[in-house]
Structure formats: structure tokens, C-alpha cells
């Protein structure tokens, strides 16, 4: 009985009596009673042993969080369930924890031990999610625990857990940036990970934590390039944008060549003389002369990046396509950038948000590379159903693309746009017409006439916009357009838009001598309405008055003074200032006058015509595709795209302990060629005729075999040596024939490949997961690399001393002959050169037939001239045959191997007009009529490089396409064999200093 009054007191007035359930909990009174009640039953549900009740409670809590309601007071009740067996409850508890742990840090610590246990769970999903939550709860006190967990997870067996570790890195970094050094270590470790799952995430972590540590990428660069196509889409975007930045710091600008070409040609000419002066065979001279001249050669790694990203233009993800597009825009040589246009135009079919972003970027690109989008002009035509913001962007692009030839169609389109119902869009169209008129002189009058017609439009906005644009156009040639100015003057009675009124007044003032009668009248009217005008118009009235006063003071003196007096008492200080200033200038007072003498010059000076420019003009200093570019303002965290370096940093930093299949750098190529040169001369100075060909053929076959060993054929190589030697001899006697043979054999070989592939495909693919690799060459190569890293590690060491095992033999051979003269051969990525060529078309078949079928021509020193992807199925390689070219002794004979990997015959293969530096000439090969699918052909052409290492640029034409290609000779290929006895050689050698 005694409890009753106390209870009633407790409840106060808010909750009425007769609610017995509150009775046992006096604390839960007050205005929040209903709230507390709900949470209480949630708490009760969470405290039960039944999972279903717990789950129900958690679901309701999560729903509260989703609606943005505060559920933080449930923290103690929820956190107890972190160890719940039911996985869904657990998951929801995680969701809750991540949301509220930051607010209740010490309570959150109670859950840590559960996660730590979870980190050791045999189930990788549980390990991963434990790490995810642990790293997401943002409680600074557990930083050391997180660090430990990340480190452990980074070497987990499961790639999924490693991926989670990569994700956790930026989380920890944002919690405590002091951990940076340790985190970089983890990143470095994860960067070396070879699974595609991890690659994207770790690069993301890299970008967040240490984007400046570009040195961490070197060793992984080629791997990332090659994995790229198999990484998931989000990772691709991050990797591509990181690689764009990387490439900008590590490679030379591919466009510098074009701008320097003219200057260079002269220098090159001198350079070649120098070479000659020092005499052939003087290797030092050649190699020292070369760096001074520096013709641009694209770093093979640069090429690798471009080649591997290109297929991604076909991605279904707009983000990936855009990322590749910006990469090409920023990194590719001018001639290759065009490929992105088609893909970008495709994105215009996508959601309007995607269109919006893509069009912004296209607008920027189309200013710099107009030609790229010209074929797609019609894709930017505007539909009445497009949202206004899309319309305006399309208009921008159309304007950028307009040129002398397409302007009639563009203007006709604009004409329809002017009749649109969307007035903002009409205004933008008028602006666009104005820009076309300024840019293309031929249509200026047409445009002007059209705009004048618009002046009689009923819509005032249209008229106003036209006036503004006409003003700008008239400024270019005012003399001829007195009529238009008069017409405009009449408009002042009707038109109300301030900007348009101001424009008209300015025009009349500026060209008052063309309309001497109307001008004072306009001023009179304006003086009348002066007080009611907008500020911008008032300023122009003052302007007009001043100008008229100077030219026609008799009629307008009083008017001017009236206007100036009105302006003197205007509310706007700007107008007051202007009036005061103008009065001092034009009305000479007794003491002043120094300036007023020049008033005419000040007011009536000829003014330059305005330039109507795109607002996208200078946007390209932002990296395309970035947020900053879109906003035209630097976003937080935006990283400038670095400029190309003047000097290429050392490319060898990217060499990894395993072989790369890319082309080797220029320098290394040169070395490769030099070696046979020596063996040549040695051989020829040899005593007997029969031994003559031996060293050469041996060294060739040797070098070839070394290259082939990569394809797993080294074992069979020795058996074929004889055969090859035979062929070698045959070739020297009747080279044409053997080539013919070689060609056929190659064909057979190529034919074999697809079969093998197919076989492998059907058997492998169904059975296990490694299947996706079967098609992508790069992947198969990656596998290759993984299979025999041990053997390769030996072969390509970083220093120049130890050459690869296979190579060693040939080098030793040489050393026997010319013990003193062999130059240190730098790390023979040479091996990989031809390895690349070999792997390109041929996959690894174990068939013993294959090696024996190899023609001697096809093996060593094959360089790619045109990749089959770029060539639309036509693949072109070339080799220097090292034989005198029959037509002209000065020419170097080059064997060109065509192969058609498309499914249609390629017709009429011939050379197009070569664009050659002075001195270089080309002897064309006879036209190939037709190249059936799968077939290949070899032709010989002669190039006189004029003893320089300038590239010979020319076009390969098929019936339908033209490809720009270039051959750059290594120095060794330019040298002709000379007979020297050993003594003579020693003597010559003695003359060369500085060995």
C-alpha cells in the first residue's frame, strides 16, 4: 500500500495511472516511456537464448539504423551477441558494431576478442569478415591489434582474406597515419601477389596510403599490365588510373617525336656523317653518337600498357572504358588515340548520368583532337527527349567538331534546335552558332543573317541571346553592318533583358559614326528611362553618352550632362564612380586636362574582337575522367597528372627476376645485333670456305634456340640443329626458295596451333577453373612464368655479367674468336624479344614436329611491325635478313612477314606513300594480291637507312585500311661485313681508345 503513492509520484503527469507494466521499472518513466519500452523489448529479445528472437530483434534494429534512427542505447545488449552462433545474427551485429563502435569505444572493446578468435577460424569467409569488422570499427586503441591482424592476413593462404587485408590497410591508415611505414611494407608484400583478386584492392590501398611511392610499382608493373584483363572491373579502373600516372613519370612523351621531327632530321644528318667519319665497325663511336641524338622509341613497357589496356575498351563497364580512354588520351601517340572514340560514342547509349560524364570528357577531347570524333558527328545530334544538361553538352561537342566541310549540316541541325521548346537549350544553340561563325569565316555572314532573323522571334530570351551574340560578331567587321545596328537600335524599345539592352547600347556607342542620326535619339530615350534600368544597362548608358559627347557634342552635350547627373546620385557606387570618372575625362575642367586630351583615344580606341571559346578549352590540364575535370576545379585529394619526364628514367628497374615477354629496350636490341656482326666477320676471315657458314649458322641457331627455350622447346632444339643448318646453307644459296619453304612451314605451324588450342580448350575447360586463361595469351604466359621461375631466375640476372644459360654458349663462342673485343652484353632481355614473337602466335604445343618445321628466318630477331589486334587480323613482323639487298648495295634488306589471322582474306597488300626523313629511301616489295585467312607471306624490301638509326616510317595499305608502321634499325644491322685478318683487326682495335 505504501508503494502506491510513490509510484504515482514517480510517473508524474505524463503517463497516466493504470499502466501496470511500468510499475516494476520506475526509472523508465517520463516522456520517453514509449521509446524505452520498445527498446526494452528489443533488449529482452536479444537476451533470450532463442536465435529466432535475436534475429528478429536485430532485424528491427538494422531497420532503425537504415531509417537513420538512433539505436545507440542498445549497444550493450547487441554487443553481447557478437559471438552468436547464428551467422545472420552475427552479420547484423557486425553491421551494428561498425555503425556505433566509434561512439561507444570502450564497450566496443568487449567484442575484440571474438574477432581475434574469428581471425583464426578455419573458414576463410569468417576470417575475412572478422578482419573486415575489426578494421572497420574505428577505435584507435586497437590500432596495434589491427596492424597485427593485417600483417597476418596479408600472408593468409586464401586470396580472399588477403584481399580483405588490402582493404583494411586504408582503414587503419585513416585511423592512425603513424602506421604508414609499416603499412607500406604490407602493401609492398601484397603488390607482389599474383592473384587477380588481390591486385585491384592492393592498388587501391596503394593509392590511398602512399601514391608517391611509385618505386613500389616498378617490379610489379609488367605483372599488373598482364593481369589487368582478368581483374574485376573496379580494380581495373583503379589500376589503370594508377598506371597512367606511373607511365607519365617513367616513359617519354610519344608525341615529342612528332614535334621534334623536323628539327631532328637535320641533326640526324650530321650524326650520320659522324658515324661514317669514325668508320664502320667502330662500335664505341656508334653507341656514343646515339644517345646524343635520341630518336624516340617507345619504351616496350609503355607499349605493353597500351596493348593490354586496349581490349578493355570493350568492357561493359562505363567506368573501365572511360579509364582506358583517358589512359590513351594521356599516354598514346597521336595516331593511336583514335581508337577510343568509338567506345566513348558507345557509352552515349547508356544511362543519362553516364552520358553526362562521358560528354564532358568528349567535349574536352574534341577540342584537342577534333579529327577523332568527326566520323561520329551524327551520334551527337540532339533528340528532343534528351535532358537539357545532355543537350547542352552535345551542343558543345557539335560546335567543337564543326569545320569547313561539315558546317552546312551542323548549321542545318542548329536550325531545328532553335525551334525547340526548351528555351535554355535554344539560348545555348544561339551561342553555339556564334562560336561557329567566329571559328569558320566562310559561314559568318550566313550565321549573322540567321541571327538577325531571330531578332524578330517572339521569345524574348531568344532575341536577347541573339543580340548578345550578334554584338560579338559585329565587332569583327562593323563597317558592313550599319543596317543591322539600326535594326538593333529599334529593338531597344521592346527588349527588356538587361544583357541584351546593354549589348545594343554598347554597339551603338562603339559604332556611332555608322548610325549618326539614330545614336543621339537612343541616348535620349535611355536618359528618360535611366532610373528604371538595371545596373549593367546604366553603365552602358554612361558609356554611350561619353562616346557620343566626344563625337557629336553639339547634339548630345546636354543629354550627357543630364545622364551624368542622374548617375551621380545613383544608389550603386559603381555607377557613381563611373559617372565621376567619365565626367572628369570628357568635360575639360580648368586645371585638369592632361587626360581629357586623350579622352578620345581612351574611349574610341579600336577594340579587339572577342574570341568565343569553348568553356572546355583548358580543362585538359585535369586528368580526364576525374572528378576535378568534371567540376573544373581541383577536388580534394586530386593528384596532378605529372608531365612527361625529359629523360626517361632507367627502364631496367622494371626488370623482374623472371623473364619478360616484352620487347627489350632499344639499347639491348642493338647489342643483340652486334654480336652476329662480329661472328660474321670472323667467320669470313676464317681459313676454309666450308667452315665459313658454320659460326654464323651456329650462333644464329643458338640465339634462336635460346629464344625458343622459353616456349618449352629447348629440349628438342639440338636434334634439329642439323636440319636447320642445312636449311641455312640452302638459304644462302637460293634465299628466295628457302623463304618460300619457310613460309609454308610456318603456315603449317600456325594452322596447328588453333587445333591444339581447341583440344586443350575442350578438355581443360570443363574440368577445372584454370580455363579462363586458355585464351588470353598474356595469362598463359603468366602461367608459363609461374611454372618455371626457377630456371629463368638464373637466366636474367640484373647485372650484365651473367648471361642466360642458353645464351652463354654463343657468347663463349664469340669470345673464343675475339677475346678482346666483346663488349659487356647487358642483361639479355633479348631472349624475351623473340620469345614474345614466338609466343605471340604460337602456343606451347608439345608436338615434336613443330621445332623442325621452324624456318630459320622465323626464329631470331623477329620484331613486331604491326600487332594483329591493331592490324585487324593482319599481323606483320620483320627481320633483318643480314644479306645484301639485291637491288641496291646501300639498302638493308628487310624481310617482312605477313600473316592473316582474321577470317577474311586481306587483299592488295602494298606500301603506301612513305613519310621518310631525308636520305632514307625504300625499295618497295611487289604487291601481295591476296592473303587468305590463316595464311602468311614473306616479302623482301630494301631500306636505305642512310647509316642513321632514324626510323623509316611508311604505310602498309590493304584494300580497306592503312596502317602506319615504322622500322627502326639497330646499329648492328646497318653495318656491312668487311674482311679483316686477325692482325688487321687487332691493329684496328688498337686504334680505338677507351675500351
Amino acid at each position: 500500500m505504501s508503494a502506491a503513492p510513490a509510484y504515482n509520484e514517480d510517473k508524474g503527469g505524463s503517463a497516466g495511472p493504470g499502466e501496470p507494466e511500468y510499475g516494476h521499472d520506475p526509472a523508465s518513466g517520463g516522456i520517453f516511456s514509449s521509446d524505452y519500452k520498445r527498446h526494452d523489448d528489443l533488449k529482452a529479445m536479444l537476451d533470450t537464448n532463442k536465435d529466432s528472437l535475436k534475429l528478429e530483434a536485430m532485424k528491427r534494429i538494422v531497420a532503425m539504423i537504415a531509417r537513420g534512427k538512433n539505436a545507440s542505447d542498445l549497444f550493450p545488449a547487441v554487443v553481447k551477441n557478437v559471438a552468436c552462433k547464428n551467422i545472420e545474427v552475427k552479420k547484423l551485429v557486425y553491421v551494428y558494431l561498425v555503425r556505433y563502435a566509434e561512439e561507444q569505444q570502450d564497450l566496443a572493446l568487449l567484442s575484440i576478442s571474438t574477432f581475434q578468435r574469428g581471425l583464426k577460424d578455419p573458414n576463410q569467409l569468417i576470417r575475412a569478415s572478422a578482419l573486415r569488422v575489426l578494421s572497420s570499427i574505428r577505435v584507435p586503441i586497437i590500432v596495434p591489434i589491427m596492424m597485427l591482424a593485417i600483417k597476418e592476413a596479408a600472408s593468409d593462404m586464401s586470396p580472399y582474406v588477403r584481399k580483405t587485408a588490402a582493404h583494411a590497410i586504408p582503414k587503419l591508415y585513416s585511423l592512425d597515419s603513424d602506421q604508414k611505414d609499416q603499412l607500406i611494407e604490407v602493401i609492398e608484400k601484397l603488390l607482389a601477389d599474383k592473384t587477380t583478386l588481390v591486385a585491384g584492392s592492393v592498388v587501391m590501398a596503394f593509392e590511398e596510403v602512399c601514391p608517391e611511392r611509385i618505386d613500389l610499382i616498378h617490379k610489379n608493373y609488367r605483372k599488373l599490365c598482364n593481369l589487368l584483363i582478368d581483374v574485376e572491373e573496379w580494380g581495373q579502373v583503379v589500376i589503370i588510373s594508377m598506371l597512367t600516372r606511373y607511365a607519365r613519370t617513367q616513359f617519354l612523351s610519344p608525341t615529342q617525336n612528332e614535334s621534334l621531327l623536323e628539327e631532328n632530321s637535320e641533326k640526324a644528318f650530321y650524326g650520320s656523317e659522324e658515324d661514317e667519319a669514325k668508320g664502320p665497325g667502330s662500335e664505341e663511336a656508334a653507341s656514343t653518337a646515339l644517345p646524343a641524338r635520341k630518336p624516340y622509341v617507345m619504351d616496350p613497357d609503355h607499349r605493353l600498357l597500351l596493348r593490354n589496356t586496349k581490349p578493355l575498351l570493350q568492357s561493359r563497364s562505363a567506368a573501365v572504358v572511360m579509364a582506358v580512354a583517358q589512359l590513351y588520351f594521356h599516354l598514346a601517340p597521336k595516331a593511336e588515340v583514335g581508337v577510343i572514340a568509338k567506345a566513348l560514342v558507345r557509352l552515349l547509349r547508356s544511362h543519362s548520368e553516364v552520358q553526362y560524364v562521358v560528354l564532358q570528357n568528349v567535349a574536352t577531347m574534341s577540342i584537342k583532337r577534333r579529327g577523332m570524333f568527326e566520323p561520329y558527328l551524327k551520334s551527337f545530334y540532339i533528340r528532343s527527349t534528351d535532358p537539357t544538361q545532355i543537350k547542352i553538352l552535345k551542343l558543345e561537342v557539335l560546335t567543337n567538331l564543326a569545320n569547313e566541310t561539315n558546317i552546312p549540316t551542323v548549321l542545318r541541325e542548329f536550325q531545328t534546335y532553335i525551334r525547340s521548346m526548351d528555351k535554355d537549350f535554344v539560348a545555348a544553340t544561339i551561342q553555339a552558332i556564334g562560336r561557329c561563325a567566329t571559328n569558320i569565316g566562310r559561314v559568318r555572314d550566313t550565321c549573322l543573317n540567321g541571327l538577325v532573323q531571330l531578332l524578330s522571334n517572339r521569345d524574348e530570351l531568344v532575341v536577347a541571346e541573339s543580340v548578345v551574340v550578334i554584338k560579338k560578331l559585329l565587332q569583327m567587321q562593323p563597317a558592313q553592318h550599319g543596317e543591322i545596328i539600326k535594326h538593333l537600335a529599334k529593338l531597344t524599345d521592346n527588349i527588356q533583358v538587361p544583357m541584351a539592352r546593354a549589348s545594343i547600347l554598347w554597339l551603338i556607342g562603339e559604332y556611332c559614326e555608322h548610325v549618326p542620326r539614330i545614336a543621339p535619339d537612343v541616348l535620349r530615350k535611355m536618359a528618360k528611362s535611366f532610373t528604371a534600368e538595371e545596373d549593367i544597362v546604366k553603365l552602358q548608358v554612361i558609356n554611350l553618352a561619353a562616346k557620343l559627347y566626344l563625337t557629336n557634342s553639339k547634339q548630345t552635350k546636354l543629354l550627357t550632362q543630364y545622364v551624368l547627373s542622374l548617375a551621380k546620385y545613383d544608389q550603386n557606387y559603381d555607377i557613381r564612380d563611373r559617372a565621376r570618372f567619365t565626367r572628369q575625362l570628357i568635360v575639360p575642367s580648368e586645371q585638369g586636362g592632361a587626360l581629357s586630351r586623350h579622352a578620345k583615344k581612351l574611349f574610341l580606341a579600336p577594340k579587339p574582337a572577342p574570341v568565343l571559346e569553348s568553356s572546355f578549352k583548358d580543362r585538359d590540364h585535369f586528368q580526364l575522367g576525374s572528378l576535378s575535370h568534371l567540376l573544373n576545379a581541383k577536388a580534394t585529394g586530386y593528384q596532378e597528372l605529372p608531365d612527361w619526364p625529359e629523360e626517361a628514367p632507367d627502364p631496367s628497374v622494371r626488370n623482374v627476376e623472371v623473364p619478360e615477354w616484352t620487347k627489350c629496350s632499344n639499347r639491348e636490341k642493338r647489342k643483340e645485333k652486334e654480336k652476329p656482326f662480329y661472328s660474321d666477320s670472323e667467320g669470313e676471315s676464317g681459313p676454309t670456305e666450308s667452315a665459313d657458314s658454320d659460326p654464323e649458322s651456329e650462333s644464329e641457331s643458338e640465339s634462336k634456340s635460346s629464344s625458343e627455350s622459353g616456349s618449352g622447346e629447348s629440349s628438342s632444339e639440338s636434334d634439329n640443329e642439323d636440319q636447320e643448318e642445312d636449311e641455312e646453307k640452302g638459304r644462302s644459296s637460293e634465299s628466295e626458295q628457302s623463304e618460300e619453304e619457310g613460309k609454308k612451314k610456318k603456315m603449317k605451324k600456325r594452322k596447328k596451333v588453333p587445333e591444339g588450342q581447341e583440344g586443350g580448350l575442350s578438355s581443360d575447360e570443363g574440368s577445372d577453373s584454370s580455363s579462363s586463361s586458355s585464351e588470353s595469351e598474356m595469362t598463359s604466359e603468366t602461367e608459363e612464368e609461374q611454372v618455371e621461375p626457377a630456371s629463368w631466375r638464373k637466366k636474367t640476372p640484373p647485372s650484365s655479367k651473367s648471361a642466360p644459360a642458353a645464351k652463354e654458349v654463343s657468347l663463349l663462342d664469340l669470345e673464343d674468336f675475339t677475346p678482346a673485343s666483346v663488349q659487356p652484353v647487358s642483361p639479355p632481355t633479348v631472349v624475351s624479344t623473340s620469345l614474345a614473337a614466338d609466343l605471340e602466335g604460337l602456343t606451347l604445343t608439345d608436338s615434336p614436329l613443330v621445332p623442325s618445321l621452324l624456318s630459320p628466318v622465323s626464329g631470331a630477331g623477329r620484331q613486331e611491325l604491326l600487332h594483329r589486334v591493331a592490324g585487324e587480323g593482319l599481323a606483320v613482323d620483320y627481320t633483318f635478313s643480314r644479306q645484301p639487298f639485291s637491288g641496291d648495295p646501300h639498302m638493308v634488306s628487310v624481310h617482312i612477314h605477313f600473316s592473316n589471322s582474321s577470317d577474311t582474306p586481306i587483299k592488295a597488300l602494298h606500301l603506301g606513300t612513305p613519310k621518310l626523313p631525308p636520305g632514307i629511301s625504300i625499295q618497295e616489295f611487289p604487291e601481295i594480291e591476296s592473303l587468305a585467312p590463316g595464311e602468311s607471306a614473306t616479302v623482301v624490301m630494301g631500306i636505305n637507312f642512310c647509316d642513321s638509326t632514324q626510323a623509316a616510317n611508311f604505310q602498309l595499305c590493304t584494300q580497306t585500311r592503312q596502317f602506319y608502321v615504322s622500322i627502326q634499325p639497330p646499329v648492328g644491322e646497318l653495318m656491312a661485313p668487311v674482311f679483316l685478318s686477325e692482325n688487321e683487326f687487332k691493329k684496328e682495335q688498337g686504334l680505338q681508345g677507351g675500351r
Binding site: 572497420s136 603513424d178 587477380t196 590511398e208 581490349p311 568492357s315 561493359r316 544511362h351 575442350s762 577453373s769
Partner: protein, 474 residues
């Protein structure tokens, strides 16, 4: 004690524009100086600036309905106050129409990136530089996933399934970076709700959440799960082509393009490896593939070779090369005239077949946005039904099938605002139509082969041509 320590490390700056988020953004500042001293030598000043703003890609997501209510919010890092959406509402007001809301809105501390689908705005909040398409593409993927899960993506459905939505979002992003976006993987992690499963779950107490790592996640074919079993093995492919065209007043084509897609519904047991070849692959000018398609194979042989995902997916979308002339299957004869003097205007349109390769044109709909001056229209169609909305001024005419013998037409008068001068623009006519069993480009699938499995699947290919953005200017 602990709490005190934690507080000490996270000084509360408070008073920032958006409360907590302001704090997070600035907190590293106070560390920056200390951090700099331990940094290695090569860290320039710019870099140190960079380190101040370490952040995630997508910070938060807000779902906003057309009446401006935020009905769902999800944060992947610290909570961003929903007041940030005020900037969005402002922009929305300025844009008047939903589709004109700029997809990217900068605010003092954040950037708002939004997509508008199914009458819902999906607004992502980001803090630092990130490729905008990355976020936009992700948001669209979220919508697609919801659609995949619940059949439709609408406000009531999302509200009903808020827990599943939350779980899915949790899996899709980790720390703001996409984690699992493949629908196949997601569905193994979190099973889509079905009535049956809900019933079973309540009885047995089992859950919708998978406790094993989805098999796809680790394999090289992440889009397909293992252990798929069907009693009827079937693979259907729909070749759907859309004609985008602008026809001018006189009926001549200004621009016409064919865009096509191949949508597939594959229900095959095990790990089938399919190849699909075309009779005339050269028609395809520009293609984009589902990640499952082997690009190299296409490059070299023009064959689509792939291990398909399970269920519905878009295998390929393509563009037919511009050199080929596009056959326009319909024509529209129109006579729309306003007279200055009277308040009546004449309106007459007729639709007829042109180059249809002998197929019937079905599902024809004509829509047109009439000028503002038009008050009402009194029209009589020769077939089908028509409506005119006097508020939006939208005329739509559901024509149905076109009978070449008796061409459908819509005739009548428009009543214009009295006294107002005649509108100087003529409306454009938008056309929708369908032609079954025809790919207008002439694309033909040659054959479909399956490797890797023993059974014989049932295969089907369907062709269809549709109007894409098909406009007739009048």
C-alpha cells in the same frame, strides 16, 4: 581510462558544417605535422597535403524518393549527417525536372553523385577525388542488383526488404570500395527472399546468409557458381536490335543507327563452355562483352566463346557499322499546323510500314510533347486508343499492329490558347514499335556449341527489332 585516452587522440573539433564528418576530415591535420617528420625524404609538400585527406571512395549512400524523403541511409565509414542532402534538394529544385539534376553536385565538404532510376535518387556521398563514372557505374549496379533480388526496385519493396538491402549493400562495398558486385556471388552470400524460403526459415530457424565463401569469388570464373544443377538444360538467346533514328520533316533520314544486344538466359548444369558463332560477324562494328567472353578468341576468330553465368545476363552489346544503310521499317506522315488567326490547329498523322522484310510491325506507340499553347485536342484514331494530358501536354497514341491494307491514322483538331500567338515550334513525334523474328541488321547466329558437359541442352534463339530513340521531326 580507455575512453579518456581515445578522446585524447581524437580531439573533437565540433562546430563543423556537418558535425562528425567535419571532424573526421580534419583530424589528420593535427597529425600531419608529426607525420611529416617521420616521412621519408622523398615526400614533398604536395604529398603531405595529400595525406591529410585519406578517405574512402563512397562514404555514404542515401536513397531519396520523389517527394524528397530520405528513406534509407547507409554509411561505410563515419556517419555523414543527412543534412548534406540539403544541397541535393536545392539542386533538385533548381533543375525542375528530375532528369536535369546534375549527377555531380559539389558541396563545401563533400561531393554528391547521384543517379535517378525507378523514381528514386541514389545519392552517394564522397569526399575525395574519384572517377565520377566509377561511382555512377556502381550506383547503377546497385539498382540492377536490387532489381535482380526483388524483381522490381521501388521504394515500398526496398522498405519491406530493408534488412536484405542492408546486408547486400554491406557486401557490395567495403570501406567504400566495391567488394562483391557479381550477382551470382552476392546471391550465394545473401539469398534473395522468396516466400518459400521465408516460411522455411521461420520454421527451421535457418538463415538467408551463406556461411561459406561463394565458390565464384575465388575461381577464375567469378560470375558462375559451381554445382549448378538443372533437370531441363536450356539456353536461350535473344538478339534484340534497336533502331535509333532521327527523321526530318520531309521524311528523309538524318541519322540512323542500329544498336543490338544479345541477352541470354542460360540454365545449364555444371560448367558448360559455349561457343556462339555468327553467319556475318563483320556486321558488328563495336562490341562490348560480358566479362565471361574470351576477348582473344573474338579478336582472332570472331567467335563468342564463354562459360556463361547462371541465369539471365547480357552477353554482348554491339553497334552495327555505320557503313551499312539502315532500313527504316516505318514511316510517319504528318500534318500539324497552327494558324495565326484561329484558335484551332489541325493535327493529322498516319503511320505506315516501309521496309519490314515481310514482317508485321506490332506494339506501335506514338508519343508527342505538344507545345505549351495547346489547351486540348479532339482527335479520332482509326485504330487503337489515344490520350492527351492537358497538364503535361503529352499526347500518346497506342496504335497496336499496323495493317498495311488499312493504315492507322489519328486526325482531329487542337484547341489553342485564345489570344496567344501560334507556337513557333512543331512537336517531335516519338515512335515505339516491335518487329518479331527479325534482326534488322541481318545479323544471324550460325551455331551454338557446348563443350565440357555431356548432356544435350535445349537451345533457342529469338530475334527482335525494336525502336530505340526513334524521332520524327515535324
Amino acid at each position: 581510462m580507455l575512453r579518456g585516452d581515445a578522446r585524447g587522440r581524437v580531439p573533437d573539433w565540433g562546430g563543423g558544417h556537418s558535425g562528425r564528418s567535419g571532424r573526421r576530415r580534419r583530424r589528420p591535420c593535427c597529425r600531419g605535422d608529426a607525420g611529416l617528420s617521420i616521412c621519408r625524404g622523398f615526400q614533398t609538400e604536395k604529398d603531405s597535403l595529400r595525406s591529410l585527406t585519406v578517405s574512402t571512395m563512397i562514404h555514404s549512400l542515401f536513397l531519396i524518393n520523389s517527394s524528397g524523403d530520405i528513406f534509407l541511409e547507409k554509411h561505410w565509414k563515419s556517419v555523414v549527417s543527412r543534412s548534406v542532402c540539403d544541397y541535393f534538394f536545392e539542386a533538385q529544385e533548381r533543375a525542375t525536372e528530375a532528369e536535369n539534376v546534375p549527377p555531380v553536385i559539389p558541396t563545401p565538404h563533400h561531393y554528391l553523385l547521384s543517379v535517378y532510376r525507378h523514381k528514386i535518387f541514389f545519392v552517394a556521398v564522397i569526399q575525395t577525388e574519384v572517377p565520377p563514372l566509377f561511382v555512377i557505374e556502381f550506383l547503377h549496379r546497385v539498382v540492377d542488383t536490387f532489381q535482380d533480388y526483388f524483381g522490381v526496385c521501388s521504394e515500398p519493396v526496398i522498405k519491406d526488404n530493408v534488412v536484405v538491402v542492408y546486408e547486400v549493400l554491406e557486401e557490395m562495398l567495403d570501406n567504400g570500395f566495391p567488394l562483391a558486385t557479381e550477382s551470382n556471388i552476392l546471391k550465394e552470400l545473401i539469398k534473395p527472399p522468396t516466400i518459400l524460403r521465408t516460411v522455411v526459415n521461420t520454421i527451421t530457424g535457418s538463415t538467408n546468409v551463406g556461411d561459406q565463401l561463394p565458390t565464384g569469388q575465388l575461381s577464375v570464373v567469378p560470375w558462375r557458381r559451381t554445382g549448378v544443377k538443372y533437370t531441363n538444360n536450356e539456353a536461350y538467346f535473344d538478339v534484340i536490335e534497336e533502331i535509333d533514328a532521327i527523321i526530318d520533316k520531309s521524311g528523309s533520314t538524318i541519322t540512323a543507327e542500329i544498336q543490338g544486344v544479345i541477352d541470354a538466359c542460360v540454365k545449364l548444369t555444371g560448367m558448360p563452355d559455349l561457343t556462339l558463332s555468327f553467319m556475318n560477324p563483320r556486321l558488328l562494328d563495336d562490341v562490348s562483352f560480358h566479362p565471361c567472353v574470351r576477348f582473344k578468341r573474338w579478336e582472332s576468330e570472331r567467335i563468342l566463346s564463354f562459360i556463361p553465368p547462371d541465369g539471365n545476363f547480357r552477353l554482348l552489346s554491339y553497334h552495327v557499322s555505320a557503313q551499312n544503310l539502315v532500313a527504316i521499317p516505318v514511316y510517319v506522315k504528318h500534318n500539324i499546323s497552327f494558324r495565326d488567326s484561329s484558335s484551332l490547329g489541325r493535327f493529322e498523322i498516319t503511320v505506315g510500314p516501309k521496309q519490314t522484310m515481310g514482317k508485321t510491325i506490332e506494339g506501335v506507340t506514338v508519343t508527342s510533347q505538344m507545345p505549351r499553347g495547346v489547351l486540348n485536342m479532339s482527335l479520332t484514331p482509326s485504330q487503337g486508343t489515344h490520350t492527351f494530358d492537358p497538364v503535361t501536354k503529352m499526347l500518346s497514341w497506342d496504335v497496336g499492329k499496323i495493317n498495311p491494307q488499312k493504315l492507322p491514322s489519328l486526325k482531329g483538331t487542337m484547341s489553342l490558347q485564345a489570344g496567344a500567338s501560334k507556337p513557333d515550334e512543331n512537336p517531335t513525334i516519338n515512335l515505339q514499335f516491335k518487329i518479331q523474328q527479325l534482326a534488322i541488321s541481318g545479323l544471324k547466329v550460325n551455331r551454338l556449341d557446348m563443350y565440357g558437359e555431356k548432356y544435350k541442352p535445349f537451345k533457342g534463339i529469338k530475334y527482335m527489332t525494336k525502336a530505340g530513340k526513334f524521332q520524327v521531326r515535324t
